[in-house]
């Protein structure tokens, strides 16, 4: 956003929160568009995906490290909540707290072991973690119900109030999704988020300004696990039945693809990705076998048309246009640079190219 100065010359920056408002606005508007039981079910799915992708965006988009563990963490959250409620008779509210804590601890453990590795090895470690979790969901039959799934999960409830009405189920998920978006936005615009991005852009320079990559990335990964845990618990209480196949390798890849196609690293990336995933789920329901194919084609076309993701590309174009307008403003004598300062307006196109490298 363009900075403005008030009369005293103090800089006031306009907030860059519009992407957050789009996300929250959509969560509010969707049930107003249609509130049938079926569409509320769809919106709830969408909001659960939104939470998952918001978490994934912190490690994938902001820290720039691809995690293939998000589906496994999603499942771990679902099973942690479901098992707590079914096998240990924990109240759903307590289970909703337990699930993200469990997933965060597991994510931190995986992170501590793999975070010092190069990005590609980190991705392989997350792939392994996701796969191990997937296997455990199917093998620990006594706890998880095995391949047949975990049945008998109660609806979510607070005190005696049961969230069985579709609108209440949606409201619960939407409120948590909005809260998650606010927290993610805070992180993104704070110095922590900047440092995470900085580390992805230039490792030596980030070290030189004193940013600790290990701690920052561990935090981002732990948070991605926390979000997956919340999403998983909500999935368990919403579907009331969970089985391993929901959390397989294909889901892990779909999540990453949906986020990258939509715009990893931007706040609108997760909401676009969630709409995309939900859309595919709805329209491909009749052609379930072709879902990977559809996603593959979308991905191939999107990376050609929008190398920075749909949101990234549109925002970049918009910023380019704004900058050009700003420059033409400057040439009309609207320059904000004080007179007499040095301007090294030099550099060849080749050098600029080198910069873009």
């Amino acid at each position: 956003m363009r900075g403005r100065r008030d009369a005293a010359g103090v800089v006031r920056r306009r907030r860059k929160a519009w992407e957050l408002w789009i996300t929250i606005g959509l969560l509010v508007v969707l049930p107003l568009i249609s509130a049938t039981d079926y569409s509320l079910h769809i919106w709830t799915r969408m909001a659960i995906f939104l939470i998952l992708l918001t978490g994934l965006n912190l490690i994938q988009g902001v820290a720039g490290m691809t995690s293939l563990a998000q589906a496994g963490f999603f499942g771990l959250g679902a099973y942690a909540a479901g098992i707590s409620a079914v096998r240990y008779d924990l109240p759903p509210l307590a289970a909703l707290v337990v699930a993200p804590v469990v997933v965060t601890l597991v994510a931190l453990l995986v992170g501590v072991l793999s975070m010092r590795l190069k990005e590609i090895y980190f991705t392989m470690a997350t792939l392994g973690a996701g796969f191990v979790l997937f296997l455990l969901f199917g093998r620990m039959v006594e706890l998880t119900g095995g391949p047949n799934g975990l049945v008998g999960i109660p609806p979510f409830s607070i005190g005696g109030l049961e969230f069985t009405e579709p609108i209440m189920r949606y409201a619960l998920v939407a409120v948590l999704a909005a809260l998650g978006a606010v927290v993610a936005h805070n992180l993104l615009v704070s110095r922590t988020g900047r440092a995470l991005r900085a580390y992805g852009a230039s490792e030596p320079a980030a070290l030189a300004v004193g940013a600790s990559p290990f701690r920052l990335r561990l935090l981002a990964f732990g948070l991605s696990g926390f979000y997956a845990g919340v999403a998983g618990a909500l999935e368990a209480f919403d579907a009331r039945f969970i089985s391993p196949s929901t959390f397989d390798f294909m889901t892990a890849v779909l999540l990453v693809v949906a986020l990258v196609v939509s715009g990893a690293g931007r706040m609108v990336g997760p909401i676009l990705g969630a709409l995309l995933l939900t859309g595919i789920e709805v329209f491909a329901a009749d052609y379930a076998d072709y879902e990977p194919l559809i996603m593959g084609v979308i991905f191939l076309v999107a990376v050609q048309l929008f190398p920075r993701g749909v949101a990234g590309e549109l925002a970049a174009r918009w910023e380019d246009r704004r900058e050009r307008a700003q420059r033409s403003g400057e040439s009309l004598g609207d320059s904000s640079a004080p007179a007499g300062t040095t301007r090294t307006d030099v550099g060849t196109p080749a050098m600029t190219e080198e910069l873009r490298r």
């Binding site: 805070n186 030189a208 004193g210 640079a337």
Partner: protein
């Protein structure tokens, strides 16, 4: 006032190759000390040892009398030691303002978890860092570029952003690794002015540079490194007249200092 940078007895070998041999030099506060030397003299390794990117085999690096932990680049910012890089190292994908504000990173004390809530304190810190960055950008004529993505800037300006980011660290010592590398001759003067401005602000500047004209025009003290050792040191005038320096650069044979400084 800070005593600046003191390097004492630093040695470093890679396998059998001795890159630095017992290097002792200092960059006092408020002045420019240059390190020159032919390719392979060990200049970049020296910069990396000072800034903690390379662990020395022996010797110490101290800022303002405090010895810095070897090989820990992350600790340098809190010891008020900043550096620039020979190859441009900016934070692509971020605006010029955000790039510069990152310089204040280690001075912001709030915890990372507190950033999830982004309470008044975190916001105040962010605003302070941004406003300090704005002031620096204005001072260096980059105010109009504050909201541009750093990768959209011409090379010369991006280099300047890197230097301004270091100033945002409020450093006591700055190590500049070949700041003129890749810059067209026309930028040499503004660059020299920027570096001189750092010293005028009381910063101890260690200038590692190839461009002799730049070095000779702005340095108070010049250290000549050759094959990992300090060959000689002195004022620019003394160094320029030293036959060993000419020999190290151009090989033995009749030559003049004019050729060197051209």
């Amino acid at each position: 006032m800070s005593t600046g940078l003191e390097i004492s007895g630093v040695s470093k070998a890679y396998g059998g190759l001795q890159v630095l041999r017992d290097v002792t030099l200092s960059a006092p506060a408020g002045s420019i000390t240059a390190v020159i030397g032919p390719n392979g003299a060990g200049k970049s390794t020296l910069a990396n040892v000072i800034s903690g990117f390379v662990t020395q085999d022996a010797g110490t690096v101290a800022v303002d009398g405090t010895t810095l932990p070897p090989g820990r680049a992350m600790t340098r910012a809190s010891r008020r030691l900043g550096r620039t890089f020979q190859n441009l190292e900016v934070f692509t994908g971020m605006t010029v303002l955000q790039n510069v504000a990152m310089g204040a990173y280690s001075r912001q004390r709030g915890g990372h978890l507190a950033d999830l809530v982004r309470g008044p304190r975190a916001r105040r810190d962010e605003r302070a860092a941004d406003e300090a960055a704005w002031a620096l950008l204005d001072r260096f004529g980059l105010g109009g570029r504050a909201d541009s993505l750093v990768e959209s800037l011409p090379f010369g300006e991006a280099k300047l952003v890197e230097m301004v980011r270091v100033l945002a660290m409020e450093p006591e010592v700055v190590v500049l690794d070949e700041p003129a590398a890749g810059l067209p001759p026309a930028s040499a003067l503004p660059l020299a002015r920027t570096i001189a401005g750092m010293a005028a602000d009381g910063i101890g500047v260690l200038l590692i540079e190839h461009n002799m004209k730049l070095v000779m025009s702005i340095s108070e003290h010049v250290v000549v490194l050759d094959q990992g050792q300090v060959l000689t040191e002195g004022t620019p005038a003394q160094v320029q007249q030293d036959s060993r320096v000419i020999e190290a650069y151009l090989g033995p044979g009749p030559t003049t200092t004019e050729e060197l400084t051209r």
